[in-house]
């Protein structure tokens, strides 16, 4: 199973994401934002957390227009998998690969702490390793994680079972407590919490590990 982790000049969770993929058994290559193609045979693209371009203008906005991101858009159009965490989720909404937008937290402050989530669907390669309704604890660390979508979009996400995680105690004002969503074909996941920071016992919790394990497992079989 081959994963590619994008590196924008201000990415700072790129190494963390690569470690989590590797520990789950994936072969990982790091891909520079100025490249215009993904390496041959990539199964999943990881878009890491951080501040891709300083988060200037809007979080993820400049990264979403980078040469490598055009290649990611094509990859997802071909049915390829992608995982965007935190800033990566912001990049995915800015490209339009995922619907909605992420705004400044309702409390206006950066928030870093572990939060309790509910697993809303297990019908995806990312979440197959959890149980539906399971409570998990994963850290967040963001300033702009307030997911906005109009009522129609929220209804559609619900009807199509595309909400993967919800907050139990909403830390940022997200509509419908949404913490993560899937694309229509269920192959692209964007989420604000950082599963790669809860993937080893040393992190003080391992609830995030199942995400990488089930993804790598599913794609290795595919």
């Amino acid at each position: 199973m081959k994963a590619a982790v994008l590196v924008f000049p201000g990415s700072n969770c790129d190494r963390d994401l690569a470690v989590a993929f590797r520990n789950a058994g994936a072969e990982v290559s790091m891909v520079w934002h100025k490249d215009d193609a993904l390496p041959e045979g990539v199964d999943v693209v990881g878009i890491p957390g951080g501040f891709s371009f300083g988060d200037y203008l809007r979080c993820g906005a400049i990264a979403a227009r980078s040469p490598i991101t055009r290649a990611v858009i094509e990859h997802t159009h071909r049915g390829g998998y992608a995982l965007g965490i935190c800033n990566g989720f912001q990049v995915l909404t800015e490209t339009g690969i995922l619907p909605g937008a992420l705004m400044r937290n309702a409390g206006l402050k950066f928030v870093c702490k572990p939060v309790d989530l509910t697993v809303e669907t297990v019908d995806s390669a990312f979440t197959a390793g959890y149980a539906k309704g399971q409570g998990i604890t994963i850290p967040i660390a963001h300033h702009d994680g307030n997911y906005v979508a109009d009522a129609d979009l929220v209804a559609r996400l619900r009807d199509e079972d595309r909400i993967t995680f919800t907050y139990r105690d909403n830390p940022n004002g997200s509509v419908a407590d949404i913490a993560g969503i899937l694309s229509e074909n269920r192959r692209v996941l964007g989420l604000m919490p950082h599963p790669e920071r809860a993937a080893e016992p040393a992190h003080g919790g391992t609830d995030g590990a199942a995400l990488f394990r089930s993804l790598v497992g599913a794609l290795a079989l595919a």
């Binding site: 000049p9 969770c13 951080g50 501040f51 402050k109 950066f110 850290p139 300033h143 040393a202 992190h203």
Partner: protein, 572 residues
């Protein structure tokens, strides 16, 4: 452009005393030019020269088998085994943070991170020790919000986990808050980079962001007491750009790995001046700078402005000439400026050329070494008055009062605004004593703490100094770490007052004694004096930042107390 004539007012405005100016005349055997005056004022102000504190800093305990590099470089370097080293330092940004809390605190974090990666270390942990005025003082709320947001804004974007710190409130800080920022990085023990230039005719290279008029005169301000005129000094605050700093760090680490770097120095206060003089002086060489080649953000900048600019996110390097193309390509990859701005020369000269004119021609070694050094008069702090009888109070009420006081309340409002887990190696987040970060890819970990209790230091500087060291030492032991070494950030009032100087001397004596007794060498540090407003000083605040080693993460003493656990009281 015509440079202003040197007048007594101009000399005073540069923070130089008449006798200091007389010394300049003696060294040069002529009057300095305006640019030269600026250079002297930058090199000789308290902030760069440590002229009031040097004598006492020499008495500290700074050595030990674990110490690879003690005070004198950008940061201290300590062996952690397996060919690795931890590089750390703490530094204040008090005055800028009081004037513009967000940017002042942010650029303080930026400065300390640069100190660490200049030495070849990737920053892996940060802390911040903050002292504010009374909670209900009109300025406090804005300062707390701005400072905390600024620290988070910079550190979070840069990508370093903030794992500890302190927050205190006391009326003595009403007019002068303290912002002390700590950073630690990880490096291979055999590839530490130092500032001493070597070799004649080697290119001097400017790296990073462009130069603007930011903070011209800021180093002078940082050492001046606040007064009514503060409004006019405002434009000396700079804006930080953590995104550029992140790129600068990645580019520098790549550059160091390429073998292109002979020596490197970050541009802090009075950037180009201090960094160039230090590289030349430590290498026993002269430096020539051609200012026309300096990347500039603004038009029509003068030599004076460029030499004193405090624009952030810049470095100066002496390059191996055969590596130029490779080095340039690295900086282009990260979209940063790379410009050859001069070279090392054999003569003892600091030569500044601009638009075909020689703007400064100074004996370089004298600039660095002949800064005045003062043995300021001091008086021993008299014993604190006897405490009044402690009122009889119900223990539970007393506990409630303590927990409810801002100084002992939970600090999560502060540290939850800091990313404490980026890099995915944080083992213990802020909130319970020392923070712990794993050494990436190993089972080792490093513990970090920052401590001082200023009211103890005021009551008895020697004992208060000892106590700060002892508390830091205990905080490390309490998580299972072996204390390795420490850094100090000595914040005091006006050293020209004998009673303040007495606090300073006493605290250093206490810190020195405790460090010797516990074998905890001080490997880096920073002194911030003149923390006074309208003559009223802060509490003496010698912050101690300490680092400990944990051989295996399994040895971390963690866990939160639970019902049924046994409580033991250890020690005297």
């Amino acid at each position: 452009m015509q440079e202003p004539a040197i007048t007594d007012e101009l000399i005073a405005a540069h923070g130089l005393k008449p006798e200091e100016y007389a010394e300049i005349l003696r060294i040069l055997n002529r009057a300095p030019s305006f640019t030269e005056l600026g250079i002297f004022s930058a090199m000789w102000n308290e902030h760069c020269s440590y002229k009031s504190s040097k004598k006492w800093l020499r008495t500290l305990h700074t050595e030990g088998p674990q110490v690879i590099c003690g005070p004198g470089e950008n940061a201290g370097v300590v062996d952690i085994g397996d060919g690795q080293a931890v590089v750390f330092k703490m530094e204040s940004h008090n005055h800028p943070s009081y004037i513009e809390p967000y940017q002042g605190a942010a650029t303080g974090v930026g400065g300390i991170l640069r100190d660490v990666f200049t030495m070849g270390a990737r920053p892996i942990a940060a802390m911040n020790a903050l002292s504010f005025g009374q909670v209900d003082h009109p300025r406090t709320r804005q300062l707390v919000h701005g400072v905390v947001e600024g620290i988070g804004g910079y550190g979070n974007c840069f990508g370093v986990p903030t794992v500890g710190g302190e927050v205190r409130f006391h009326p003595a800080y009403n007019g002068n808050c303290l912002v002390n920022a700590f950073a630690a990085g990880l490096a291979d023990a055999d590839s530490i980079f130092y500032s001493a230039a070597s070799g004649v005719g080697m290119p001097v290279v400017y790296l990073g962001a462009k130069t603007g008029r930011d903070g011209v005169g800021g180093a002078t301000m940082a050492s001046a007491e606040f007064d009514e005129g503060i409004e006019e000094k405002r434009p000396t605050v700079q804006v930080g750009d953590p995104f550029t700093e992140k790129r600068l760090m990645e580019a520098c680490l790549e550059l160091m790995a390429s073998g292109a770097v002979i020596s490197i120095q970050d541009m802090g206060a009075a950037g180009l001046t201090c960094s160039a003089v230090e590289m030349g002086d430590k290498g026993g060489l002269g430096i020539r700078l051609d200012l026309d080649a300096v990347p500039q953000r603004e038009t029509a900048m003068t030599a004076y402005e460029m030499m004193l600019s405090e624009s952030q996110e810049r470095m100066l390097m002496v390059l191996r000439p055969e590596k130029e193309a490779e080095a340039r390509a690295i900086f282009e990859k990260w979209d940063l400026d790379f410009a050859i701005v001069g070279e090392t020369i054999p003569e003892d000269r600091f030569l500044i050329l601009h638009k075909g004119d020689c703007k400064a021609d100074l004996p370089l070694s004298k600039l660095a070494s002949s800064a005045p050094e003062y043995d300021r008069p001091w008086v021993e702090t008299p014993p604190a008055p006897e405490m009044a009888e402690v009122p009889g109070i119900d223990p539970i009420d007393a506990l409630k009062a303590l927990i409810g006081s801002p100084n002992y309340a939970a600090k999560h409002w502060v540290y939850e605004q800091y990313d404490s887990q980026v890099m995915a190696d944080t083992i213990r987040r802020p909130g319970l004593g020392a923070g712990i970060v794993r050494v990436h890819g190993t089972d080792k970990a490093l513990a970090f703490t920052s401590d001082v209790t200023p009211r103890y230091v005021r009551a008895n500087p020697v004992e208060g100094g000892k106590q700060a060291v002892a508390e830091a030492f205990r905080n490390l032991c309490a998580v299972g770490a072996r204390p390795l070494a420490a850094t100090d950030n000595l914040n005091f009032g006006n050293p020209e007052k004998p009673e303040i100087m007495g606090q300073f001397v006493g605290a250093i004596q206490g810190i020195g004694e405790a460090c010797r007794a516990l074998d905890l060498p001080i490997v880096s540090g920073n002194v911030s004096l003149y923390n006074e407003t309208d003559g009223s000083p802060i509490l003496p605040t010698p912050t101690i930042g300490a680092v400990g080693l944990i051989d295996h993460v399994d040895q971390v003493i963690a866990g939160t107390p639970q019902e049924g656990h046994l409580a033991l009281l250890l020690g005297a």
